[in-house]
């Protein structure tokens, strides 16, 4: 079980409940493949540094989870198919990354 973190950007034209529904869809998909969701963070609507398929902003969403390596590929295939997701990046965390993520979570929690 490695620890991963995925950041994905959702289309800004979506309404709030569509955003929530997309996020629930992916977290559900992960739980289905035996992943353990550690932290779900919503950064909300942010301006992009450059145009991504002609959009200037997007809903950023961060998901940190522990999962077996086999759970990543199907999730990414699903993200590629879903046209609401404009861009995504899944990163496997090494031991320094895990420690940094824990520290960052505690900082965000008590802010």
């Amino acid at each position: 079980m490695n620890q991963y973190e995925t950041v994905f950007i959702l289309n800004p034209v979506l309404s709030d409940d569509q955003v929530r529904e997309t996020v629930d869809k992916f977290t559900g998909l992960l739980k289905g493949t035996g992943a353990e969701i550690i932290n779900v963070e919503k950064w909300g609507l942010k301006k992009l540094a450059y145009l991504i398929d002609k959009k200037k902003s997007g809903f950023y969403q961060l998901v940190e989870f522990k999962a077996p390596a086999t759970a990543i590929a199907p999730m990414e295939v699903e993200m590629r198919r879903d046209e609401r997701v404009m861009r995504f990046l899944t990163v496997r965390l090494d031991k320094h990354g895990v420690e940094y993520a824990a520290k960052r979570r505690s900082k965000v929690a008590n802010k």
């Binding site: 950041v7 950007i9 540094a49 450059y50 991504i52 950023y60 861009r87 990046l89 090494d94 320094h96």
Partner: protein
């Protein structure tokens, strides 16, 4: 007395004196790798404020000879910057980034 007058004074008159370049050391501040010094182990690709310090105005990654970072952390840094660019947190090209 600056070095120019001292050389002129010492030489007998009439002999052509060539100006020696004055030894000006620009900044002898020893460069150090800030990741090793402050014990930063993981460079996060999610906060652009920290990464912006390692980019020049055009958004390009600064070379090691200017920032003084060690090779190990320069690789991690460039990977983090490229990930941040992929996520739209940082521009690929910019004109007045700072």
């Amino acid at each position: 007395m600056s070095t120019i007058e001292s050389t002129n004074a010492a030489a007998p008159s009439g002999e052509v004196r060539y100006l020696q370049p004055i030894a000006i050391d620009t900044n002898n501040k020893k460069k150090y790798c800030r990741f090793k010094k402050y014990g930063i182990k993981h460079i996060d690709h999610k906060d652009p404020e920290f990464l912006l310090r390692f980019l020049n105005e055009q958004g390009k990654i600064l070379p090691r000879r200017l920032t003084g970072t060690s090779l190990k952390y320069q690789r991690k840094l460039s990977q983090a910057v490229k990930r941040a660019r992929h996520l739209g947190l940082m521009p690929y090209v910019a004109d007045n980034l700072k």
